[in-house]
């Protein structure tokens, strides 16, 4: 190989084989990182599935919780989770994306903007239980929504907003400036430019944020317990102002019961929760893959 490029004049020392070996090592390392993550996931999921698959019978979905494991189901929790996720997404998505747009596209570079920015980053680190306290004071008591699924969703929306905003901003920032210029030069208004170009091109990144946010919201327990989501519900959820429970609370509850069968029931509950998560995310993922542009 070195013979090929013979007139190397000694002013460079490319040491290519070393660099290539280094690169291969690095590639292996990064592949290992992905694999390790997936192995952990598989072990975790396998463990759960082995524990719980027996309980995934039709009754598991149609029955309410009971003190008898065989008669127990997660009907109310599943309803609650679906309601809560939909309401949360409905509130958090527009607000989160809107805020991201404002900060990237409109906000002047001043103190207020910087304050908002830091504020958002900071909110991402506030423990979820504190959001629970906030939700209890603000929505349950302040707005008198009671311990309704609406109050829970609003709390959850606040909780996931930072994730949405931060990822949304990064996605929007990654849209090349030249695209904005092209659109504005055609006489598009700023909003038209955002609506027709910035948002569509940033959508894959925004959807990643949405996936992460939904994932977070669907698995959270502590803030909902604090605002008074109930663990034990034997009736159907009829509207946004109704009392509710969610899958992770039901799981949390089963896990803490003494009977071993309930532990397995919890595992089955987790399988269902992951199933819900998967189907919701699948939608976002399909969309994301469709929308991905390589510049």
């Amino acid at each position: 190989m070195n013979g090929l490029f013979a007139n190397e004049d000694g002013r460079f020392a490319p040491r290519l084989s070393l660099r290539l070996r280094f690169g291969r090592l690095f590639q292996l390392l990064s592949l290992a990182a992905v694999t390790l993550g997936l192995i952990v996931l598989s072990v975790l999921i396998l463990d759960i599935i082995l524990n719980g698959y027996k309980w995934l019978r039709p009754e598991f979905f149609t029955e309410f919780p009971s003190r008898f494991p065989e008669k127990s189901g997660l009907r109310s929790a599943l309803q609650g989770s679906l309601w809560m996720i939909s309401l949360t997404a409905l509130m958090a998505f527009p607000i989160g994306v809107g805020a991201a747009i404002y900060l990237e596209e409109y906000a002047p570079d001043n103190g207020l903007t910087r304050f908002i920015e830091i504020n958002i980053a900071n909110l991402a680190g506030v423990p979820s239980i504190i959001y629970g306290l906030l939700g209890l004071g603000l929505f349950v008591r302040g707005l008198e929504l009671g311990r309704s699924v609406l109050a829970g969703s609003m709390t959850m929306a606040l909780l996931v907003l930072p994730i949405l905003i931060v990822s949304g901003r990064e996605a929007i920032r990654a849209v090349p400036q030249s695209v904005r210029q092209a659109s504005l030069a055609l006489g598009a208004t700023q909003w038209q430019t955002i609506q027709n170009h910035v948002l569509p091109y940033a959508m894959p990144g925004i959807l990643t944020g949405t996936i992460l946010a939904i994932s977070r919201a669907i698995g959270e327990t502590a803030p909902l317990i604090t605002i008074g989501a109930l663990t034990y519900i034997r009736f159907d959820l009829k509207g946004p102002l109704d009392l509710f429970t969610v899958l992770p609370i039901q799981i949390f509850n089963w896990v803490s019961l003494p009977k071993a069968e309930f532990q397995q029931l919890a595992a089955a509950g987790i399988i269902v929760l992951l199933g819900v998560l998967f189907s919701l995310n699948a939608l976002a993922i399909v969309l994301r893959n469709k929308l991905q542009i390589r510049w």
């Binding site: 660099r19 004071g137 930072p162 990643t208 502590a222 995310n281 993922i285």
Partner: protein, 308 residues
Amino acid sequence: MNESQHVLSTLLRPRADHDRREKLIRAVLLLFSAVSIFTTLGIIAVLLRETLLFFQEVSIVEFFTETRWTPLFASKKFGVLPLVNGTVLVAAGAMLIALPLGLLAAIYLSEYASDRARKILKPMLEVLAGVPTVVYGYFALTFVTPLLQKIWPQTQAFNALSASIVMGFMILPLVASLSEDAMSAVPQSLRQAAYALGATRFEVTLRTVVPAALSGISAAFILAVSRAIGETMIVAIAAGQQPKLTLNPLQSIETMTAYIVQVSLGDTPQQSIAYKTIFAVGMLLFMMTLMMNLISNWLTRRYREVYE
């Protein structure tokens, strides 16, 4: 001349409907951003009153200098340092896993994996982020801890390390996903420029793509650190509830969040001083993440590379 009149009239007749719409949209979006301010104000309002009440009974000096934290014992000591210690220990451990592995995973997905592989692998990793944290907690306790005990027999049944490890894996997809997005958004022309100079894929990745995506990567890192500090259930289950000033990850510790959840779901009367501690601890946690964010904000502003 009618042309100039026409131009003049259209120029000075800014399409009123458009204009009003633009203003409205801008105002609404500003309002959306302000939600975060209201949230913060709300949190401060929730925390501040009780925190002040707490500090009327306990001196701030004791809070920050005392090395024992026993508000629920008969002999009460209010030194928050053990809790801070636990939080930092677990979060640092989790970051040691999540940041390098997450970034490496992102690099693999963005720079090495084929299009098809990426489309399959990325969502699979993201499922990791959706497993309820309670599940992770049990996983740490019943799977990771026994493993650790085989390696280091002195490992306690509840310990910081297993919580750190599992939390690291929980946060990994957050880092990987967001970083991968940032790297995918780096224009292909930059990669070409580097390749054309005889850079290997490794060098293109590390010297061109990663720096150009640094803004997004650091945003992911900050979210990850914040998430680690704020995570509750894993530590509450697997790391124990024993506030201790130690750097030994094999020991049981208690984090600030685990303490907050323990007390807020526990049997202590909510009017007691013991209960008020959670507001003081929450406030401190809030301040800590705020400091961290101020610093990282300053850093990213300095080192951000804008590409076009």
